[in-house]
C-alpha cells in the first residue's frame, strides 16, 4: 500500500519504512519555532524540566520570531521580549529575530523600526519563516502557533503545538505525533482573475465545516493550486486549522524549489523532495471546478459560515483590515493596491504588512507606476508597522483593534467572538480583493465591480 506525503515524511523522521494513520510515533524535529506569546512559557517549562543551565537540543534548529505584542504599552509584553532576548543570548541561538527598537526599560508604545531594511526584527512568524529560509520540503516544522500549518505549502509537515510540547522538543529534538489520515482537495481548472487562494480555502472550509478535517492532514492539489505562487499556497495551508486540520500540505514542485533555493542561507540543510504515492490511501477526496467558485466570505462568528460576497452586498461595514500571515503578504498588498488605485476608501482601512520585508515591498513594488504605499495613502488607508497587530485582538492599544462592536471585513483567518477585540464585533473574512473593494463602498462588495484584469493576481 502506498503512502501519502505526510505519512512518508513522518516515517522518515521516525526511522521507519512505513507508518499507519492512527499510530503514535516519536519523530525527530527539524525546526522548532516560537514567538513572544508562547516563548516565555515554553522557556519556563524547558528550564523547569531540564534545568536552568541545560542546553537546547540544537541552537541552529530553534527559531524565535517575536511578532504578536510588539507595538503596545503593555509592560508585560515588553518584559516578555526581554525573556526571549536573554534566553537567545544564553543559548547562543542563531535565529532570533529581535525587535531591536524595543527598550525593555522604557514605557509607552515602542516607536517602530526606523529602517525596515536594516532591523533584525522580521514580523509575523509565518511569513518570516519562509522569507528567511526556514521552510524546506520533506522536513518537520513545529511551532507554538496554530497557524504553523502554513508551512505545509513547502511540502513539509508543519503543525502547531503547545508550550509543554515545545519545551519537550527544545530539550530533546523529538516529539510523539499521531499519524493523521489525509483528505485530498483537488482544485481543477484555471484560476479566474477575480479569485485568490483565500477564496479557495474559504470555499473548502464552508464545504466540510469548521471541524471537517479534525486530526487530519489536508492535502491540496490540482491545476489551480499548482499554478499559484508560494505566498498564495501559504494562504491555503494557513487556514487548514480553521477546518480543524492538523496540517495542510502541497507537494513541492519547481516553484517551491526555486523559492526555497532563493531564500536558502549559508549552511542550510539539504532537503528531500517527498511526494504522495499514486496508490496512497485517502480518507476522502474532494474535487472542485474553480470556474464555479466566486469571491467568498465567511460571516461572523465562524470561518465555515460561507456565503458569496455578492449575496451579502447589503451588509454595511465599519472598517476594512488587510494584514496577517493569511492576508498581509506582498501578493495580498499588490491585490489590494490594484483595487484601491485611484479610489478613496469610505471606511477606516488598516494596512498591516506581515513582515518588514513586505513593508519594504510597499515602497519597491509598483502598480500602474505607483508604489503600493503611495496607492494606499492616496486612497486614505492607515498603514501600520509589521506585526500580528489586530488579527488576534491583543492588548487594547493594538493598531486596528476593534474596541467597539463594529463590522470588519478582514483578510485574516479567524472570526470567533472577540477575535479582533470586542466580543460583539462582527468579522467577515475575505480575500484582499474583496476587502479592498468593500473599503471603497462601505458594504461587502464583490471585487468584480472594481477589478477586471486578464489573469489572476497570485499566479507563479
Amino acid at each position: 500500500m502506498g503512502m501519502t506525503i505526510t505519512e512518508k515524511i513522518m516515517a522518515r523522521h521516525a526511522g521507519r519504512s512505513d507508518v499507519t494513520p492512527g499510530e503514535n510515533i516519536w519523530c525527530d524535529i527539524d525546526v522548532l519555532m516560537t514567538h513572544d506569546i508562547c516563548g516565555p512559557g515554553t522557556i519556563g517549562i524547558f528550564e523547569e524540566r531540564f534545568g536552568r543551565d541545560a542546553k537546547v537540543f540544537d541552537p541552529e534548529k530553534i527559531v524565535i520570531v517575536p511578532d504578536h505584542y510588539i507595538f503596545t504599552a503593555d509592560p508585560r509584553a515588553r518584559r516578555n521580549i526581554g525573556i526571549l532576548r536573554d534566553f537567545a543570548k544564553r543559548q547562543g541561538l542563531r535565529f532570533f529575530y529581535d525587535p531591536d527598537f524595543i527598550d525593555i526599560d522604557s514605557d509607552g508604545i515602542p516607536a517602530p523600526y526606523a529602517d525596515a531594511t536594516t532591523t533584525s526584527y522580521r514580523g509575523v512568524c509565518h511569513s518570516a519563516l519562509p522569507q528567511n529560509g526556514h521552510t524546506r520540503p520533506g522536513e518537520i516544522l513545529l511551532g507554538t502557533d496554530s497557524h504553523t500549518c502554513t508551512h505545509g505549502a513547502f511540502g513539509e509537515l508543519a503543525t502547531g503545538i503547545g508550550n509543554t510540547d515545545a519545551g519537550f522538543v527544545m530539550g530533546t529534538g523529538k516529539l510523539w505525533l499521531k499519524v493523521p489520515t489525509t483528505q485530498k482537495f483537488v482544485f481543477n481548472g484555471e484560476l479566474p482573475p477575480y479569485l485568490m487562494a483565500k477564496d479557495l480555502i474559504l470555499h473548502v472550509i464552508g464545504e466540510i465545516g469548521f471541524d471537517g478535517a479534525t486530526y487530519q492532514a489536508m492535502e491540496f492539489t490540482g491545476d489551480a493550486v499548482m499554478s499559484l505562487n508560494m505566498e498564495e499556497r501559504c494562504t491555503i495551508c494557513n487556514m487548514a486549522i480553521e477546518a480543524g486540520g492538523k496540517s495542510g500540505i502541497i507537494a513541492p514542485d519547481d516553484v517551491t524549489i526555486d523559492y526555497v533555493n532563493d531564500r536558502a542561507r549559508e549552511n542550510a540543510p539539504e532537503f528531500e523532495i517527498v511526494e504522495s504515492d499514486s496508490d496512497a490511501k485517502y480518507e476522502a477526496v474532494c474535487e472542485f471546478d474553480v470556474s464555479k467558485i466566486e469571491p467568498t466570505v465567511a460571516q461572523p462568528h465562524c470561518p465555515d459560515r460561507r456565503v458569496l460576497a455578492r449575496e451579502i452586498s447589503d451588509v454595511k461595514i465599519d472598517r476594512s483590515y488587510i494584514g496577517s500571515c493569511t492576508g498581509g503578504k506582498t501578493i495580498d498588498m499588490i491585490a489590494a493596491a490594484t483595487v484601491l488605485d485611484g479610489q478613496s476608501v469610505k471606511v477606516d482601512t488598516f494596512i498591516v504588512p506581515a513582515t518588514t520585508e513586505v513593508d519594504c515591498d510597499l515602497d519597491s513594488c509598483k502598480v500602474n507606476g505607483k508604489t503600493l504605499r503611495e496607492i494606499f495613502v492616496a486612497a486614505g488607508c492607515e498603514v501600520g508597522p509589521a506585526s500580528c497587530a489586530a488579527c488576534l485582538g491583543g492588548p487594547q492599544d493594538t493598531f486596528g483593534r476593534a474596541n467597539k462592536p463594529v463590522n470588519v471585513v478582514s483578510t485574516t483567518n479567524r472570526n470567533f467572538p472577540g477575535r479582533m477585540g470586542h466580543k460583539e464585533a462582527g468579522i467577515f473574512l475575505a480575500s484582499p480583493l474583496t476587502a479592498a473593494a468593500s473599503a471603497i463602498t462601505g458594504y461587502i462588495t464583490d471585487p468584480r465591480e472594481y477589478y477586471a484584469p486578464d489573469k489572476a493576481v497570485g499566479l507563479a
Binding site: G44, N80, D145, G162, F168, G393, P395, R419
Partner: protein, 187 residues
C-alpha cells in the same frame, strides 16, 4: 493528574465551537504562565471571552470565575462539539485548570487543545458521543468517574457513558508528556 478519583461538584455548561479566544482572550496572553504570581490570573480570566448570553447555559450571564477571584466554583465543564478550537495557546487548558476545574466533557475537541490538556497534564478531556450539553444546567451537581467512563447529573439523575481516553489516558495519568516519557524510558 489522578484519573482514578471521582470528581464531584458543580457543572458549567457551554455550547459548540468554544474556541481558545473564548476560553482565554488574547489580551491576557502577556501574563507569563511560568511566573507563579502571574499564572493565577489565567484562573481569573478563564472562559471570560464567552459572550455573556452564552456564559453558563442555559440561563446565561454566569461567570465561570467571579470578578476579582482566581478560582471557579465549577468542577466540571460540559460542552458541545469542537471544544478548544482555534489557537494553539496552552494557556487555554491551563486557565481552566488554574481556576480549579480539572475535567471537561464535550462531544469532540480540536486537536491541539486536546493534546495540550493531555501533554501538559492540566485536565481530562472526556468525550461523550451524544450531544449532552442541553441535558445539564449550569450549577447542577455532577459526579464524573473518569476510569469507569461515566458522568452522572446528580441533580436530574441522568447518566451518560463516556469514551475511553485510550493511550492519551496513560499520558494524563502519568502527569503529562514529560512524566510519561520518563516512565517509558524516552527521557
Amino acid at each position: 493528574m489522578n484519573t482514578n478519583t471521582k470528581i464531584k461538584g458543580k457543572v458549567y455548561v457551554a455550547g459548540d465551537n468554544i474556541d481558545t479566544d473564548q476560553i482565554i482572550p488574547a489580551e491576557f496572553l502577556s501574563y507569563n504562565p511560568s511566573d507563579a504570581d502571574e499564572r493565577k490570573f489565567f484562573g481569573r480570566y478563564a472562559m471570560s471571552g464567552v459572550p455573556i448570553a452564552q456564559s453558563g447555559l442555559p440561563q446565561g450571564n454566569v461567570k465561570f470565575t467571579p470578578d476579582d477571584a482566581f478560582a471557579s466554583e465549577f468542577a466540571v465543564i460540559v460542552a458541545g462539539a469542537n471544544f478548544g478550537c482555534g489557537s494553539s495557546r496552552e494557556h487555554a487548558p491551563l486557565a481552566i485548570a488554574e481556576a480549579g476545574c480539572t475535567a471537561i466533557v464535550a462531544e469532540s475537541y480540536a486537536r491541539i487543545f486536546y493534546r495540550n490538556c493531555i501533554n501538559g497534564g492540566y485536565c481530562a478531556p472526556c468525550e461523550c458521543e451524544e450531544k449532552i450539553y442541553d441535558k445539564f444546567s449550569t450549577g447542577d451537581e455532577v459526579e464524573l468517574d473518569i476510569a469507569a467512563g461515566v458522568l452522572k447529573n446528580i441533580t436530574t439523575g441522568a447518566e451518560f457513558q463516556l469514551r475511553s481516553l485510550g493511550d492519551a489516558g496513560k499520558i494524563l495519568a502519568a502527569g503529562g508528556v514529560f512524566d510519561y516519557a520518563k516512565e517509558t524510558g524516552m527521557l
